[in-house]
């Protein structure tokens, strides 16, 4: 597949390896939802570094993943956005409201930890 998914503890790390067709995007969405539900994960990190185009369709799909994962108890962080893609998304004015972003995997995991701690404090 064009996406490599591995599980590290209760975090899912999805690495997109190449440009995805719309069908593959939808497949990814479904797979992630399924995995989060099955393993009771608390976080997803999606590395979009290999995507050199992120348009409205992909953005909508990412938003759907974030919202679905949230319902299932997991936070999602997008990492690895390439400079040119970031510029394109800003100029396009793609709405990225619910999306959390981090610079790289390390930062994303740290962010998920912080969210988890905060969650534990609130809930505990």
């Amino acid at each position: 597949m064009s996406v490599a998914i591995l599980r590290r503890g209760d975090v899912l790390i999805a690495s997109i390896q190449s440009d995805l067709s719309d069908t593959e995007v939808v497949e990814l969405r479904q797979e992630l939802a399924e995995l989060v539900g099955r393993h009771r994960l608390r976080g997803i990190v999606i590395d979009v570094g290999a995507l050199d185009v992120i348009d409205s369709f992909v953005t909508r799909a990412l938003r759907t993943i974030v919202l679905t994962a949230r319902l299932l108890g997991a936070a999602t962080v997008i990492v690895g956005l390439a400079p040119d893609v970031a510029i394109a998304m800003v100029q396009f004015r793609l709405n990225l409201k619910p999306l959390r972003v981090a610079l790289d995997l390390d930062e994303a995991l740290a962010m998920l930890d912080r969210l988890n701690q905060r969650g534990a404090e609130d809930g505990g």
């Binding site: 719309d22 185009v53 409205s56 400079p83 396009f92």
Partner: protein, 148 residues
Amino acid sequence: MADEVRVRIDNDADLVTARAEGRAMAERLGFPRPDPTLIATAISEIARNIVTHAGRGEIILARFEDANRYGIVVTAVDEGPGIRDVEAALRDDVSGRGGLGLGLPGARRLMDDFELKSDAETGTTVTMRKWRYRDELARLREERRGRA
């Protein structure tokens, strides 16, 4: 360099090709970063509309140049049902929900020129252009001409 590249759009896998070809031509023409990405993104939007609303169509990539500028012309053609409310399709909604979900206002923001023709009989044609001055001097020359 080929003056024109045509990509048939029949399904969503063709969008990957259209994006790649658009990027490749932009880079060959000498567009500096981030333009190839902007162009590929705009192509992605209008090519997807073909798949979603017309089923099939074509993306035509062509170069254009004049004395002081070089650029790319992207045309998306389909014989689908057409867009009834062209104005709404192009409306740049501040809330981000405008444009009938067709991504056209966004694509327009990424390009320099943008034209949309659509009706029920003939279908839809979107023509977009992005161009650059060859260099600072060409830009100055154009500005001087404008003032004169």
